[in-house]
Each structure stands twice: as structure tokens, then as C-alpha cells.
């Protein structure tokens, strides 16, 4: 026997279910299948089993792409977490104009990513970009640095931009986490004679741990799959120095027109992403 109104409940949720099945579940399923085929644009797919994955595993270019993705993701997420923590702790301290400052610091997160990447492309411009121009004015460099033209600095540049865009997400989440730590815990610790450092270590950090965990996971999923910043700033170059999973997927799919292989590139870290999503979903839907 169904509860009353169950019919209306199902009816209301039906459009969502149709959307999820048709536009997300079905494409994901067909992605799994496509990755097991050799599919060139305009030709029907030909089943080849795990061939794409096996070939990718041995491919030095793809290995470099995986390595780049790891550097990009770990580098960005770590620094975003640290700066976000600094932002949250500072905002938690500073009572004056807190909302205004928080709003201003959120701006990078609000701007369309393509615009962010464009603006920073221009900031890093070798000849007239702000960074070289001001470094020259300050006398710190003798001649311009081609930030986006050298492998090491290009990777650093795209990581910097990802950090710039993403740290406010950490800052705002962690601030909310800080505000949710009961004040009596601090008072009790102070009564017991705990120093500021001890209070931070034994009250603040444990209180923040769940928020840090969740925010870091969400950010890792999205950073690992970032496309816009790298594509607009370097197209994966110079050479393949900044190619990460998403940009390489796009290149294999739409430059080389090998769709089966391209989907295999994007699916390669699927198991990792699935694990992260499952952990997150369990965390976030736990009944309070």
C-alpha cells in the first residue's frame, strides 16, 4: 500500500527521472560502450574490447597527460585548500565589513571561466602582459619571460589560474564550517588553559575536518576534469606540456576524430571518480 500522494510525488519527479535516464545515464552507458570500440567520425563503431585502454596505457603521450593531470589537480587543490583556510580564518576574525570582503573575494568564482582564462592569458602575455611589465618596472627581470611558451612555467601558470578561480569556494565553505563550531568548545578550552595554537589544533581543526574532507573531494573531481582554463590559455601546449585529461579527450575526439579512443581517455580515471562520488554522496545524504 503506497502512502497518500505517492502518485503525485512520482508524477512531480518524473521529468527529472526522464532527464537523468535519457541525457545522463544513457550517454554514460554509451560512453562505456564507445570506449570499447574503434569509432571514427562518420563510420559505425567497431567493437575492439579493451584495445583502446591497453594502447593508452603503453602510450608515452597519454602517460604524460595522466602525469600532467595529477600535477595540475594535486597542485591546485592543495594550494586552494591552504589559501581557502587562510581566507576563512581571516574572515572569521575580522568582523568589520565581513560580508563585503567575502563578496569581493568570491568574485573569481563568479566570473565565467573562459573570461578568467582570457584575462589571465593577457596577464601572462610575454610582451605586454601585466606580469612581465610590472616585473620589468620593478627591475626583477631583465628580459620578458614567455610564461605560456615554456613547459615548466606554462604548467605553473594554468595551476595559478585554477587556484585563483577556485580558492573562494574553499574559503566560503570553510568559513561556514568555522561558524558552525559551537562557541562553548572554545570557551571550555580557554577555561582549561589552552593556548591559541592548542585551541586551533584541538578545537578548530577537528571541527573543520568534515567540511575540509567534502570540499576537497568536490574540488578534486572538478579540477581533475577541468577543461576551460587549460584549453583557452595553452591549448595543452607548448607541445603536450599542459595537456590534461579533458583537453586531450577533446583533441583526440575533435582534432584526430577518433571517438572511441577519445572516450577511453575520458573514461580512464572513471573508477577513481566513481569512488570519490560514492564517498561524497554517502557523506552528504547521511540523515542528520
Amino acid at each position: 500500500m503506497l502512502p497518500p500522494d505517492a502518485g503525485i510525488g512520482y508524477l512531480f519527479v518524473l521529468p527529472l527521472v526522464v532527464l537523468v535516464l535519457l541525457l545522463i545515464a544513457y550517454p554514460l552507458g554509451s560512453a562505456v560502450y564507445l570506449s570499447l570500440t574503434e569509432k571514427y567520425v562518420g563510420y559505425p563503431p567497431r567493437f575492439v574490447g579493451l584495445k583502446n585502454y591497453v594502447e593508452l596505457t603503453g602510450d608515452p603521450v597519454f602517460r604524460k597527460v595522466i602525469w600532467n593531470s595529477a600535477v595540475f589537480t594535486v597542485g591546485s587543490v592543495t594550494v586552494k585548500l591552504m589559501i581557502g583556510l587562510l581566507m576563512a580564518l581571516s574572515l572569521h576574525q575580522a568582523l568589520f565589513a565581513r560580508r563585503l570582503v567575502r563578496g569581493l573575494l568570491l568574485l573569481p568564482w563568479v566570473v565565467p571561466t573562459v573570461i578568467t582564462a582570457l584575462a589571465w592569458h593577457w596577464m601572462f602575455d610575454a610582451l605586454r602582459g601585466f606580469i612581465n611589465v610590472s616585473l620589468e618596472t620593478l627591475g626583477l627581470i631583465g628580459e620578458p619571460i614567455a610564461w605560456l611558451g615554456q613547459p615548466s612555467t606554462a604548467m605553473m601558470a594554468v595551476v595559478v589560474v585554477n587556484i585563483w578561480r577556485g580558492f573562494p569556494f574553499f574559503g566560503v565553505s570553510l568559513l561556514a564550517g568555522l561558524q558552525a563550531i559551537p562557541a562553548d568548545l572554545y570557551e571550555a578550552a580557554a577555561v582549561d588553559g589552552a593556548s591559541a595554537t592548542q585551541r586551533f589544533r584541538h578545537v578548530t581543526l577537528p571541527g573543520l575536518r568534515p567540511v575540509i574532507f567534502v570540499t576537497t573531494l568536490i574540488s578534486t573531481i572538478f579540477t581533475l576534469n577541468d577543461f576551460n582554463i587549460v584549453y583557452v590559455m595553452t591549448r595543452g601546449g607548448p607541445g603536450i606540456a599542459t595537456h590534461i585529461l579533458a583537453t586531450y579527450t577533446y583533441e583526440v575526439g575533435f582534432q584526430a576524430l577518433r571517438w572511441g579512443r577519445a572516450v577511453a581517455v575520458s573514461m580512464y580515471l572513471m573508477p577513481l571518480v566513481v569512488v570519490m562520488i560514492v564517498v561524497l554522496a554517502r557523506r552528504l545524504t547521511r540523515e542528520d
Binding site: L16, M87, L104, L107, P112
Partner: protein, 272 residues
């Protein structure tokens, strides 16, 4: 006291780091190309010129890209509000078997990266004859706007006390009437916020628009700008003017949305 000073020092550093790219974007958009190219740096435009804005609006596809972006973002947010409102209410309030599974699905789906979806979605849209039309984006954008907005609205509907609609139903209103007449008016600010979020998400989207649309006349702003950037010469003045014009509406919307964004982003995280 010391902690507070330290807090303001780090906030000032962060504000400068956030502000410089915006400063450079706005000032570049107001410089002549001579000032932009000059070997003696112009840290601010002198004199100020609006030539980049004029050329952008007269000499490029920018006005068309604005129209396309607006149409797609409006359409996508309307669809999103409709689907998310119904689903959000149903998942927040009505009891039936499978409800928790569905709520979890919404979250899971929100976390599925577009990188995994864009090629299979493209083959599907191609099969439907929608590739290279704005309809393709109208179909594709709800895949990320609907999960996000539904998640937001589940929380929002839960925060409205159930007593009111219960009272209405005791007085003989049906569930649909209670939803329509009692809950929706109360939820209006949250619904508006969800709609505006959907609008900005669609307005900012790049990958699907890049892949699904080839026709120059149908491009959205991010794709149009990406093309403009990789033309023969870098038109930084015009590109930065376009960046300013594209960013302003989003920033205006977010001054309203900030409250909801903080709640929406963090509600889940803090709960865990």
C-alpha cells in the same frame, strides 16, 4: 589583537591578488591599441577611450553572441526551474518508496563531470538532428543545471515549515493546490535564486557550446571570444572589453545570489 591584524593583512593580500586581474582587464579595455602595445607601460589608460567597445559591438559577432547566449541561458533556466521545482518539492516533502535513492541520484548526477558526457551527448544530439543548433544546448544544459538546482531546492523546500500546507490540506486543499497556492509563494525567493543560478551556469558554459555548435552565427559568447582570441592578431583591447561586458551581468546577479550561494554551497558540506 594580533590575530585581527594578521587577519586583515592576509585579507588585503587576497583582495589585491583578486583585484589585479580585474584592474588589468578593465583598464586594458579602455586603452587605445597604441597604449596597449607601448613599450613604456601604461598602468592606467590616458586618455580613456571607448573605441574597443565600439569596435567590438560594430565589427565583430559579439552582439549576435550575446543574443545566442541570452536565448539559450533563458530557455535553459526556464526548463530547469520547471523540472527542479517539481522534483525538489516531491523529494523534500512527499513520502514514497525510492525517494531517498532518487535524492542521492540527484547529487551523484551533479558530480558527473561534463568531460565524460560531451562525446556521447554529441552523438545523441547528432542522431536527433540537433547538432549545430541552439536546441542542442537547450537540451544539454539541463544535464548540469537541473541536478544543481534540484539539490538547492530540496534544501529550500525543507526549510519551509510543513504546518502551513498541512493546514491547507486539512481544510480540503489537494496536495497540488497546497503546493501551488501555499508553498510556491513562500518558496519564491529560492525558486528565483535557482533560476538565476541556472542562468549563470548556462551563460558561462564553454565545452558543450564549443563541441555542439559550428555555425559562426550560432556561437555563444565564450566560444565566440575563444575564436576571436585565436585569430591572426591578439585584439586584447576588444577581448577585454568583451570580458567586461560578459562579466558585469553575472556579477550583478551574484550580488543578489550571494546569500543563497553560500547557503547552497555549504549546507551540504556543513551537514556532513
Amino acid at each position: 589583537m594580533g590575530a585581527r591584524v594578521l587577519a586583515w593583512v592576509s585579507l588585503s593580500v587576497l583582495l589585491v591578488a583578486v583585484g589585479v586581474p580585474f584592474y588589468w582587464m578593465v583598464t586594458t579595455s579602455l586603452k587605445t591599441s597604441t597604449q596597449i602595445q607601448s613599450l613604456t607601460p601604461y598602468y592606467y589608460p590616458r586618455p580613456v577611450t571607448f573605441g574597443n567597445y565600439v569596435e567590438l559591438l560594430r565589427g565583430t559577432g559579439f552582439p549576435r553572441w550575446i543574443r545566442n547566449s541570452t536565448a539559450v541561458a533563458l530557455g535553459a533556466s526556464l526548463v530547469t526551474v520547471l523540472v527542479s521545482c517539481l522534483a525538489g518539492y516531491s523529494l523534500a516533502r512527499i513520502r514514497y518508496p525510492g525517494r531517498r535513492l532518487l535524492a542521492t541520484t540527484v547529487l551523484v548526477v551533479y558530480l558527473v563531470p561534463p568531460t565524460l558526457l560531451f562525446i556521447p551527448l554529441y552523438t545523441i544530439l547528432n542522431g536527433l538532428g540537433l547538432a549545430n543548433t541552439l536546441w542542442a544546448l537547450l537540451v544539454a544544459y539541463p544535464t548540469f543545471t537541473v541536478p544543481f538546482c534540484t539539490w538547492l531546492l530540496i534544501g529550500f523546500f525543507r526549510s519551509i515549515p510543513p504546518d502551513l500546507e498541512d493546514a491547507a490540506m486539512v481544510d480540503g486543499a489537494s496536495r497540488v493546490q497546497a503546493f501551488h497556492r501555499v508553498v510556491l509563494p513562500l518558496a519564491a525567493p529560492g525558486v528565483l535564486a535557482a533560476g538565476l543560478f541556472a542562468f549563470t551556469l548556462a551563460w558561462n558554459e564553454f565545452l558543450y557550446a564549443l563541441v555542439f555548435i559550428h555555425d559562426g552565427d550560432l556561437k555563444t559568447i565564450p566560444v565566440g571570444l575563444n575564436d576571436l582570441m585565436f585569430g591572426d592578431i591578439f585584439l586584447w583591447g576588444q577581448l577585454m572589453a568583451a570580458s567586461v561586458l560578459t562579466t558585469v551581468p553575472v556579477v550583478v546577479l551574484y550580488t543578489y545570489l550571494q546569500r543563497y550561494m553560500v547557503e547552497g554551497l555549504t549546507a551540504g558540506a556543513v551537514k556532513g
